[in-house]
């Protein structure tokens, strides 16, 4: 109970602190959500992204000299 009343007194009581906490939470939410969703998406598509394929493609160019694909 002391926790809830202290939270109220520190954050929610004055409107200036309340609004400041809302803006801080907005920034954290946007950055965190962007990072989190990007990481989940890249994890879900592992092996199909260019970052994963690039070393294999470059290795393919190292071994082969001329390609005739006409």
């Amino acid at each position: 109970m002391a926790f809830y009343s202290s939270v109220f007194n520190i954050v929610f009581k004055r409107n200036s602190t309340f609004v400041a906490s809302i803006f801080a939470a907005t920034f954290l939410l946007q950055v965190g959500l962007d990072e989190g969703v990007t990481r989940w998406y890249e994890n879900r598509n592992k092996g199909k992204l260019w970052a994963d394929l690039k070393p294999k493609v470059l290795a393919g160019f190292e071994t082969e000299e001329a390609e005739d694909d006409e």
């Binding site: 109970m1 809830y4 009343s5 939270v7 109220f8 954050v11 929610f12 309340f18 609004v19 906490s21 809302i22 803006f23 939470a25 907005t26 939410l29 946007q30 160019f61 000299e65 001329a66 390609e67 005739d68 006409e70």
Partner: protein, 216 residues
């Protein structure tokens, strides 16, 4: 009905005035209207009032967070429309620090959306470029016509056949090789073998000072 209301208000008003005249410390918030008893609906335990209050404020605050995030995204969307448009960026020049490019190495720079190949050529390569018999070339051009300073080869990395980007330090002529249809370019960027009709294009560039190349 109107008369009944006025009697009630007069009575309550009369009561308030009477109460005020009796005592000066009457609590002003105490309602003098008849109201039902809600106590069996109210939260009974006294201790959880802070928790429920915090919960309410948290819910309101979360709504504020979502609204602020939406407002911020909207403002950012409008501001990006005011940043440099594609045609302004397309007319832009690009500066390259030449001391960052070691001898005998290629560097690719993006300019107006196109790749620009810059090669720091060794004296052997310059000699090789000059020794080629121009009359035997598909697109005859002397190396001295293609470069301002033979040490630095600057050209657009777009194959003149169908627009792929050739690969550096590849091909049969010590230059570039286009993997799409097999065009070979030599150490001066001239076409030697393969389907491309012209040499790699030389863009407008200048040496602002001996260490800086400005393309465009």
């Amino acid at each position: 009905m109107l008369s009944r209301l006025s009697i009630r208000s007069a009575r309550s008003l009369g009561l308030a005035q009477a109460t005020r005249s009796i005592s000066a410390t009457v609590p002003a918030f105490k309602s003098t209207y008849d109201s039902p008893d809600f106590t069996h609906y109210l939260n009974s335990s006294k201790g959880s009032s802070d928790k429920s209050r915090d919960f309410t404020y948290f819910m309101v605050g979360s709504y504020g967070v979502l609204g602020a995030a939406a407002a911020k995204s909207t403002v950012e969307a409008f501001l990006t429309t005011m940043s440099a448009s594609a045609d302004v960026l397309a007319m832009a020049k690009v500066e390259v620090k030449l001391n960052a490019i070691p001898l005998g190495k290629n560097v690719v720079v993006k300019w107006q959306g196109k790749p620009v190949f810059i090669r720091h050529r060794t004296p052997d390569e310059i000699e090789e470029a000059n020794e080629v018999d121009i009359s035997k070339l598909r697109d005859p051009q002397a190396d001295s016509d293609r470069v301002k300073n033979p040490e630095w080869l600057v050209m657009l990395g777009i194959c003149t056949h169908l627009g792929c980007v050739p690969i550096g330090e590849a091909g049969d002529f010590d230059g570039w090789f286009c993997p799409c249809h097999g065009s070979h370019y030599d150490i001066s960027g001239r076409i030697r073998k393969g389907p491309a009709p012209l040499n790699l294009e030389i863009p407008q560039y200048e040496f602002a000072d001996p260490e800086t190349l400005v393309v465009g």
